[in-house]
């Protein structure tokens, strides 16, 4: 291995050759690429599980899988999409873009960077291997409520706990790196309030991660103790409290929800200003809105638990605090619209995904507001209405943000323009299928279909068939995305340094060549 490293010319810093380039790399772009490919592969694995779920739910009755396997599919679909797709994709984008956006040569802690990536394949290797064990993988939902996940869990739950611990370590290390990079490696003149919004969004996200990942580690450790060492944190028979689990889990879980959306806010802000050819409206209120969302995320957790039997004062407190989140979120939407207003707008693929993001994320926001209303939540809770809500904020929300970012920066990364016609085709197929899949879920939920059901009553049959058709179409369409990405990496029209018309003034990344040099900025640029 060392011969490979030594053989390259130190005068021209470039990547090592072969596998060792990827195993031992400390380069922010290589690690970013690893993260992005990892999350892309996970998207197809988690997506395949969603296809199994939708195939079973295509018709009432049990046709394809048994409930035992169905529960493993819903659980692992959720875990993989949250921890294996959305989060690593954002970290990959951060790795690629943060040094380039703040005018740094690389991340501050490159070896730590390598470690935080390579922990992930280990964690998910362990998690997915449980599906092939005799007792099967985790089957208690991605929220793994005790005691279903402790006293009543398959013994493979121990692998699950270990895997969550590793994911947590990876996220914490990644966040430390991001915070250190942002605070120490900005180009001279780039004050905090001149940072690009994507950098701001990640700075806030990294703090959220450092604050809540240890809480997740704590709750799975308590589970481990209950299962193996005879404690009774969550076991009522031993004097424990099953509801404690939910409080601790959601104290992690709600900030986690914003971890999955804040970086998308940053991305979409950049794309909208680029294709409106007009600077983002209300930069400082955008920053303050993200910060307020992050702070509020710590005091709203129990709105996931309105039916556990909290006292009236508790229910009302969490209703009001949750409603407050609508204010900064609304401000962000208004600012995006005001940025488009009186712009000079073109509709390249990243812009299409960003417009869809604003529209559909807002729909997810509306259903979120409805869910915050406690008495009404008694009817919505744990039905497909909730499933519709969080898929609207996570698929046309977070995932569209990631796809938009890929189209927006792919020419910068590879030096090749993607195929615009195929990109638009990908957008329209995705846009239609995502709505065919998730919009009818509002109706089945309101009509009374609970979530995590492998089989359902006959009045839900028509909508479920429609949802499944939409889901299959959505799944297939993403193969087109894979094709477009590979095609762009291999060939395409040569991209200019600024890539998009007028983008040269919008950020430091557009002053670099496309593709950028291996070490982004060897001389720090001066920011006015």
């Amino acid at each position: 291995m060392s011969t490979v490293v030594e053989s390259h010319d130190h005068g021209h810093h470039g990547p090592a050759k072969g596998l060792s380039r990827w195993l031992f790399t400390t380069n922010h772009k290589d690690i970013g690429t690893l993260y992005l490919w990892f999350s892309f592969i996970m998207l197809f694995i988690g997506g395949a599980m969603a296809m199994v779920i939708r195939a079973e739910l295509f018709q009432p009755g049990l046709q394809i899988v048994q409930p035992e396997f169905f529960n493993q599919m819903t659980t692992n679909h959720g875990l993989i999409m949250v921890f294996g797709v959305i989060m690593p994709a954002f970290v990959g984008l951060a790795n690629w873009m943060l040094p380039m956006q703040i005018g740094a040569p690389d991340m501050a802690l490159p070896r730590l960077n390598n470690l935080s990536f390579w922990l992930l394949p280990m964690a998910f290797g362990i998690l997915i291997s449980t599906l092939f064990m005799p007792e099967g993988g985790p089957n208690f939902g991605w929220t793994f409520y005790a005691p279903l996940s402790t006293t009543y869990a398959p013994s493979t739950v121990n692998f699950f706990i270990f895997s969550v611990h590793i994911m947590g370590v990876s996220s914490i290390l990644g966040s430390i790196n991001i915070i250190t990079t942002i605070f120490n490696m900005r180009a001279p003149g780039m004050t905090l309030m001149k940072m690009p919004l994507f950098v701001w969004s990640w700075l806030i996200t990294a703090y959220l991660l450092i604050a809540v990942m240890p809480v997740l580690a704590g709750v799975v450790t308590m589970m481990l103790m209950d299962i193996n060492f005879g404690t009774s944190f969550f076991n009522a028979a031993g004097g424990g409290d099953p509801v404690l689990f939910q409080h601790v889990f959601w104290f992690f879980g709600h900030p986690e929800v914003y971890i999955m959306i804040l970086p998308a806010f940053g991305i979409v802000s950049h794309i909208i200003e680029t294709f409106s050819r007009k600077p983002i409206f209300g930069y400082s209120s955008m920053v303050y809105a993200m910060a307020s969302i992050a702070i509020l995320s710590f005091v709203v957790w129990a709105h996931h638990m309105f039916t556990v039997g909290m006292p009236l004062a508790g229910e009302l407190f969490f209703m009001y605090s949750t409603m407050l989140i609508a204010i900064p979120t609304g401000v962000k939407v208004f600012n995006w619209v005001a940025t488009m207003f009186r712009g000079s707008i073109t509709f390249e693929t990243p812009m299409l995904f960003s417009i869809a993001f604003v529209a559909l994320f807002t729909i997810g926001g509306f259903s979120g507001l409805m869910l915050a209303i406690v008495p009404a939540d008694f009817q919505y809770h744990d039905t497909y209405f909730v499933v519709a809500h969080f898929h609207y904020v996570l698929v046309p929300g977070a995932l569209f943000g990631i796809i938009a970012a890929a189209y927006y920066w792919l020419p910068k990364w590879t030096g090749n323009m993607y195929d615009e016609t195929l990109g638009k085709l990908h957008f329209w197929l995705t846009f239609i299928s995502v709505n065919v899949t998730f919009f009818p879920m509002h109706f089945v939920g309101l009509a009374g279909m609970p979530r995590r059901y492998p089989d359902y009553a006959l009045q839900f049959a028509d909508f479920n068939a429609l949802i499944s058709v939409g889901a299959f179409m959505f799944g297939l369409t993403q193969l087109l995305f894979l094709f477009i990405v590979i095609k762009t990496i291999r060939s395409g029209k040569q991209a200019k340094p600024e890539v998009w018309e007028g983008a040269g003034d919008l950020g430091l990344e557009w002053t670099l060549t496309s593709p950028p040099p291996y070490h982004s900025f060897t001389i720090q640029p001066q920011v006015k």
Binding site: V333, F366, A447
Partner: protein, 382 residues
Amino acid sequence: MAYIRKVFTGFILVSPLIFSSLIFSESSDYNMPIGVTEVSESIFGLHMLIFWICVVIGVIVFSIMFWSLWKYRKSKGAVAADFDDNFWLEIGWTVAATLVLVWMAVPSTQVMVEAYDDAEGEINILITGHQWKWHYEYLEDEVGFFSNLSTSQEQIDGEVPKGEFYLREVDEPLVIPTNTRVRFLITGNDVIHSWWVPDFAVKQDAIPGFINTAWTNVPEPGIFRGACTELCGIKHAFMPVVVRAVEREEFDAFIAEKVALAEEERMLTSKVWTKDELMARGESFYATNCAACHQANGQGIPPVFPSLVGSQITMFDSNKHIEILMEGVQGSAMAAFGESYSEVDIASVITYTRQAWSNGEKGDGVIVTPQDIVAYKNRIDL
């Protein structure tokens, strides 16, 4: 391309109409049921109020956005302005958003206070969630029963056509009187379940070690169907809730019958049972309570649900067999059935499983009688 664009634009313009026309209809196939109680009606009203506020905000924001996208597109020669802030506009929409939220919060709080009332009811019913059935106990009369899914496995597997109330029917529904304040005390026996009847707008988690309360007052007779809404394991989708509301006289007759049945059950314990009587009773008990996991053929789904066919315990160790039925198996899905069922039921199902599937011929074929179970209980009490 222009044609395709036209079709897409058409689709986008028409789709909100299609979707909203669905939700306009107050049919419960697309929207929340209005329900039958005062609380459920106020919750429905609140739901529609918040929904319409969201629709109005959505229409305003999206109109401005799509109009801007249309009007300021570069292909029509739009030139970008360069403003990037407006202090009073920012303040204005922040204040407007806050006011709208206050407008929503006031009626929400009122409905919440109305729905959340844990004063004692005229009738108090203890609801216990089990994997995977509900147990109802009338606290005033000290009678109770289990409510199991009555849809057949053949319907679920698609071997016979599905009935009208597929997965929404039970062998014994909960019966409550009309025009009476009924309070539900809700708890869980094993994992967390959640008891939901949409028509009453009652949904409360059934948590082991906790007793949650909810209440209803149903104005007219009817059958109301609900579901378990907290993931509770393999049969989560197969433990529906069915409530039958009846006039007071019919309810009193129902309770009287239940009390008489319970008395009769107690008498049965002292009766001398023949093997055939035990077998017949055990077979039906097995089909209702055991076959879901151990399967009708007794072979289970190893390793999660062990086979009962040819096992050491079912063939040679009747004491261990009794102990498992009475105490359950720690760390597995096997519940302690002795806590919830009569001595007769336990004895008959043990006898049945020791005889069935040629366990009787190959093993010792011991007959376990209700008196053996009573003896076991007395031994434990010492």
